[in-house]
Amino acid sequence: MEKNLVLIVLLAPFIGFLGNVFFGKKAGKGFAGALGTVAVAISFALSVYFFLQVNQTGKPIAVTLFDWITVSNFKLDIGIVLDQLSLLWLLFVTGIGSLIHLYSISYMHEDENMHKFFSYLNLFVFFMITLVVGSNILIMFIGWEGVGLCSYLLIGFWYKNQDYNDAAKKAFIMNRIGDLGFLIGIFILGSMFSTLDYAQLKAAITAGNVDTAKLTVAALCLFIGAMGKSAQLPLYTWLPDAMAGPTPVSALIHAATMVTAGIFMITRLNFIFDLTPLVQNIIAIVGAVTALVAASIGLFQNDIKKVLAYSTVSQLGLMFLALGFGAYNVAVFHVITHAFFKACLFLGSGSVIHAMHHEQDMRRMGGLRKIMPITFATMMIATLAISGIPPFSGFFSKDEILLTAFHANIPLWIIASLASIMTAFYMFRLMYLTFYRDFRGTEEQKHHLHESPSLMTLPLIVLAILSLVGGVISLPFGGSWLNHYLAPLFSGSHTEHHLGTTEYILMAVAVAGGLIGIGMAYAKFLKGGAVPKEDHEMTGLAKTIYHKYYVDEGYMALIVKPINGLARFFRDTLEPALSQLVFILGSLANGLGNLGARVQNGSIGLYLFAFVIGFSVLFIYLFLA
């Protein structure tokens, strides 16, 4: 019975996908939306059921479906393991997923391919669930690839625009580069331990006597995979371009679920990373630098979704920073709170874009506060959360990260704090430019402004509430429920941060930093009424940062153009040469054949000659030799 329920958790979205693929167009938009949402909601309900069960008993549920690969001493089977970590992920993936499905019913209502959209979304949820509940690394990799595929399909959903297709390709290819690293890591691990199952790997590694050098290489390769999927330096440029997809896609995939897969993978394999301090240092540094760089780019962006994209990259950097210090539950906490407020922010921005009739430039917005009160209120709550203002959830999770950084590595703490201040600044810049002062758009747009329908505002409200109260799962005082819940997974001793004076001072410093950021934004944009310059007016440093430090152009020149040149060389030189070679072989055979054909020239005289000569030779051979 339990096995069947587990299978339903996994397969309900897949059945939703199939239903929408085959019947969606005929059955109409209402059916498509309802099927998609219900499929994910079923998974969510069952996840809640299992979560309650595991929370109570503390024992994970493991289901083996069938043997997949059995080769000499390497055995791999398809199994599902619902332990504390995967259930946590399942909860917020399916939960936020169903909210976003609900939102999309209204948001994508005018689109003619709505059934296709829901089928892709369901497929994505299916693969994400696969990634999360797999019992070995290979199943996770299947899910990994699958979510990458769905990301490509969804980013390029409005395929008639070539720029969107390019963005989708960019996302997929950058993911692929990371996946190569991931695969190499899997191969190394597989060859070292002859198994990829989590439980067996953990037993083999913690038993001791492990070649740390090889393990370090494997861990590094795995981290490269995480870099690609979770958009860290240098594989981050796909995420801002991925904003070409519809907003629900950005909310689901590029804020709450897919990009957290890297963190999930590292948390899952924490026993590997615990043994490789070098890789952990690298993770921490990469995370911190990413956080700072992305935040700096976000300061100057004018597209509302791009600001949020860079904000996502920056927050992911903070999560990796925490992972780099071995503080897995801190990172998980921030993942959860970030999912809440980032999804809320994206959905809110979608609501604004919907009202502005697909205008996304903040310089044309303004004064939407009175017209869209619900959107404004929910986004304000989420913005306060991301800026780290107590008692919102973001404060608790970010504070934990900063505390861990302070105790481990002061320079990285400074970088993280700077990134947080910048985050507060640009998020409030976004709020002031969008919702305050006067409307800067055209008259036409002003007429169409309206609050979004309830199907869109309901998820916003739910997510805002969660952003507000989500911090309770891991309060620094009185024993964190999250730490206690995840304790069976992590081997390191996790001393609760003893709340001494240092901690309180640090908390105050963090809050102060946030308030400084808000204040600066207030002074410049609300009081001062500044509006960012138009594209052609920008100069100097601002221009460089606005153009993302020309990193994309750098990649283009350094990597893309040489590879294209190589491909062109192959196409224009090598391939014709090879076909010429084949032709030459052919003509050689032809020539030989022609030579042979000259014997048969049809002249009887020659035949008679041959006849007589043959006869004489035969005679000589038989009788004289």
Partner: protein, 170 residues
């Protein structure tokens, strides 16, 4: 040198000369005539052997029928005036060489086999008169005899069919 040997030499010379002239002469009619003479000389050889039946058959069939057929065909095709192109020089030399080669090979082979084994025996009885020949033909070689008749019939049919003129279109 006995008379028979002398006759043999004269006949052989005649045979070889006419055979050679058959090939060598330019005019096909001359070639045909020479061939007739060759057949006649071979008939002479048969007579030396006292193979009377064969001699006459040779005359009637070869010289009488086959060569006449040849002459008819030559005249049908009006090959009187001969303007035949020669084969390339190389081929002609090769033909001569082959001729010498073949001659040499065959002679050598036959000489080597030592056909002579002492005295030529004489059975005393008649072995080749037409009576004996007829008996042998119709006793042991009955079946081939009948088949020859069928062969000749088939040949006749074939020839008639092959040389039928197509129905003219006009």
């Amino acid at each position: 040198m006995s008379t028979v040997l002398l006759i043999f030499y004269i006949l052989s010379a005649f045979t070889l000369a006419t055979a050679f002239l058959t090939i060598y002469s330019k005019n096909p009619i001359h070639s045909a005539i020479y061939l007739v003479l060759c057949m006649v000389s071979i008939m002479g050889h048969y007579l030396l052997f006292n193979a009377q039946f064969l001699a006459l058959v040779q005359l009637i069939v070869y010289a009488g029928a086959i060569m006449v057929l040849f002459l008819f065909t030559i005249m049908l095709m009006n090959l009187n005036k001969e303007d035949e192109v020669h084969k390339p020089r190389m081929t002609r030399y090769a033909a001569v060489i082959i001729f010498i080669l073949l001659c040499g090979v065959l002679t050598y082979v036959f000489v080597d086999t030592k056909p002579i084994m002492g005295e030529y025996d004489v059975t005393g009885q008649d072995f080749q008169s037409i009576k004996v020949l007829g008996k042998v033909l119709l006793n042991e070689y009955m079946v081939p005899f009948e088949f020859v008749s069928i062969l000749l019939l088939t040949a006749m049919l074939g020839v008639v069919l092959l040389s039928k003129k197509e129905k003219s279109t006009r």
